[in-house]
């Protein structure tokens, strides 16, 4: 152990003992209530749970990376703050070899759970997980937990993004007056694609007369091209817009300017433009984060694939009260959501 490692170890140990002294209630129960003020100091604090997260864009991206960051932060709050759950993260790691190095490093540092929050990290993760059988990993958005490859320490998680896409599509179809709806896609891949496919089906199932125009900008970060795409949609008559990825801030800005409604996905985007974002499909990972923590605490480190749906609450439709959406539109959306949850309705074509 080098000097540096020892120092780091001391720091961590220091934080731990300080945490133990201060925390009262930090049992990592799945339904843990928000941390109560330190009262019964006699109760021994549970061991600090250490989570590391690696993601491809900024944790402030109002989209994919932020959705996981917010979820872990929420769980952390439930577990009594830093003393209950320690979170370290590396964001903006778009390049896979760099992400692999980060994942491997966190795994080697003794984190309990290392979250590889990027579909593209899968192949590297498979290799790394093999070398650290005692560390639990989570990978998303993905369906394969590598159990078939003999790995027992990888969780996978995948959002059924088309479900919320469909519901937002119903809303869009109900409120459009021009019967033109615009979709600002980044690229035709991953959950961006399933979201768009679900959205399109939601619109056309609800309103036969409505047209859905789709554009792609070819990457996740080109904000100004996204803005130009949104503007083109409005010129083509669209009065409702949606889109996916961190670059949609460009489109939201245009929607605000043109005073038309935006439907968001991944994170709750109401904060970006409170008078413009009608509703967002929110990836609420906090449920599965809690579930994974419970499983790990009881000795199960992987071989489970989670799917977030409207039914299990991993996907939520978050309305923004500041934007007026007619009650009948909301009712139609709720009905569609219920049908999807009951399995009566397929969100994908």
């Amino acid at each position: 152990m080098s000097k540096i490692n020892r120092r780091k170890f001391l720091t961590i140990a220091g934080t731990l003992s300080a945490g133990a002294a201060l925390t009262a209630c930090a049992a990592p129960a799945p339904t843990a209530a928000p941390a109560a003020p330190a009262g019964g100091a006699a109760k021994p604090a549970a061991k600090q749970f250490k989570v590391a997260m690696v993601c491809p864009s900024a944790v402030t991206d109002a989209a994919f990376s932020q959705s996981m960051f917010d979820a872990i932060k929420a769980v952390q709050k439930d577990m009594g703050g830093e003393s209950g759950l320690l979170l370290k993260y590396s964001d903006n790691v778009f390049q896979v070899p760099n992400a692999a190095a980060a994942i491997r490093d966190y795994a080697g540092q003794g984190f309990d759970l290392v979250i590889a929050h990027g579909t593209q990290y899968g192949n590297s993760l498979q290799e790394i997980a093999k070398d650290f059988p005692n560390v639990a990993f989570a990978w998303g958005t993905a369906t394969d937990n590598f159990e078939s490859k003999g790995l027992k320490n990888v969780f996978a998680y995948n959002p059924k993004a088309e479900e919320g896409g469909y519901v937002l599509g119903v809303l869009a179809a109900k409120i459009t007056k021009s019967n033109v709806v615009g979709v600002c896609g980044p690229v035709e891949a991953g959950d961006a694609k399933t979201f768009v496919d679900g959205f399109k089906k939601g619109v056309t199932d609800t309103n036969k007369a409505a047209k859905v125009n789709v554009t792609y900008t070819g990457n996740f970060s080109d904000v100004s091209l996204m803005a130009a795409a949104a503007e083109t949609h409005t010129k083509a008559g669209a009065d409702v817009l949606t889109g996916s990825s961190q670059s949609v801030v460009g489109a939201i800005g245009i929607a605000k300017d043109k005073k038309i409604v935006w439907f968001g996905t991944q994170s709750d985007q109401a904060g970006l433009a409170p008078d413009t974002v009608g509703a967002s499909q929110v990836y609420d990972w906090s449920g599965i984060v809690k579930e994974m923590i419970n499983m790990i605490n009881s000795g199960k480190k992987g071989a489970v694939s989670f799917e977030t749906t409207l039914k299990n609450g991993g996907l939520k439709i978050a309305y923004n009260d500041k934007v007026n959406i007619p009650a009948d539109a909301k009712a139609a959306a709720a009905a569609a959501a219920k049908d999807i949850a009951d399995g009566k309705l397929k969100a994908l074509p």
Partner: protein, 312 residues
């Protein structure tokens, strides 16, 4: 699809968006043109734009004063331009490479400050379109040309002003002399260093404004690395425009018009006959093609060559 394409809405839409989208390119490329006419390539435009974009957005968020925001972005651009001048003129650094350093620096700094000071972003109300009286009421023409926000007008007004400064004033003469034959200019008592400093610093200021134009006049929001390549394209447009303000403007317009066009193709092409990726390639291919088969001007002879008194 084809018949839809030649409808009035689509054609005016393309023209209007093309002009609007050209704004940040035009600001940045006009500034860079002055730097290059004086003999300095600043490849760091993108980095300066990012810091300008952040500054503009942050000040607008805090004060809601758009002009103050623009002013602060310009000041930040001036500071970074001065740094670039020092690096190129005093330190005589290899310009292609120092520019890459400036880009990295600006990219990192804008994200870092955003995380430290703002953390999240909320849309601001940017410059609103101003309809020019009378002209704005002309059908089609008015809609295309005279219904933009103030920064769009300023960007295009700068083109004739830049041309006048460059071709009709003593200062412009000095710039051109320094960019072609610095030794001769020096022997005539023109301070090569001072001219290059002013041009590169002016370029920095324009890059700062170009960056701020994104949140203040086009997008209303900020996102890390939001320029995503505009600064580099702007540098390329200076070469495209043959180092003349009109040429630079035509380049910016061509690039943006083709970009607006490809978005319309995507909107109208319902069955995705043309893959979006190929539509997205269009502006770049067109720019190369037009330059390859068009008229070309020689670059300023002393471009990228540091000048040291008495070394010649």
């Amino acid at each position: 699809m084809l018949s839809e394409f030649f409808s009035l809405t689509v054609l005016t839409g393309i023209a209007y968006s093309g002009i609007r989208l050209a704004t940040p390119y035009l600001f940045a490329a006009l500034g860079e043109m002055f730097a290059q006419r004086s003999g300095v390539v600043n490849l760091g435009v993108e980095g300066i734009m990012l810091v300008g974009a952040f500054t503009g957005f942050a000040v607008a968020t805090w004060t809601s004063n758009l002009w103050l925001a623009l002013f602060c972005a310009a000041v930040v651009g001036i500071i970074m331009g001065l740094a670039m001048s020092y690096i190129s003129v005093n330190m005589q650094a290899e310009q292609g490479i120092s520019g890459i350093g400036m880009h990295l620096f600006g990219l990192g700094l804008s994200s870092l400050l955003f995380k430290k000071w703002l953390g999240s972003t909320k849309a601001i109300t940017g410059f609103q379109p101003i309809k020019i009286p009378i002209l704005g009421d002309i059908p089609i023409i008015g809609e295309i040309f005279f219904n933009h926000n103030i920064l769009v007008y300023i960007a295009f007004l700068l083109v004739p002003i830049a041309a006048w400064v460059l071709n009709k004033t003593t200062f412009g003469l000095k710039i051109r002399a320094v960019g072609v034959k610095p030794e001769a200019a020096d022997s005539l008592g023109v301070s090569v260093a001072r001219i290059r400093y002013s041009c590169v610093t002016f370029g920095g200021m324009m890059a700062g404004i170009a960056g701020a134009a994104l949140p203040l006049a086009l997008i209303n929001l900020f996102q890390e690395n939001m320029t995503s390549g505009i600064g580099f394209i702007a540098v390329a447009l200076v070469y495209f425009g043959g180092w003349s303000p009109t040429g630079v403007m035509l380049g910016a317009l061509l690039f943006s018009l083709v970009n607006a066009l490809q978005l319309w193709i995507q909107v109208l092409d319902k069955d995705k006959v043309i893959p979006s990726d190929f539509a997205l390639m269009l502006p770049y291919i067109m720019t190369i093609a037009v330059l390859a088969f068009g008229k070309r001007t020689n670059q300023p002879a002393a471009l990228t060559k540091p000048f040291e008194r008495g070394s010649h």
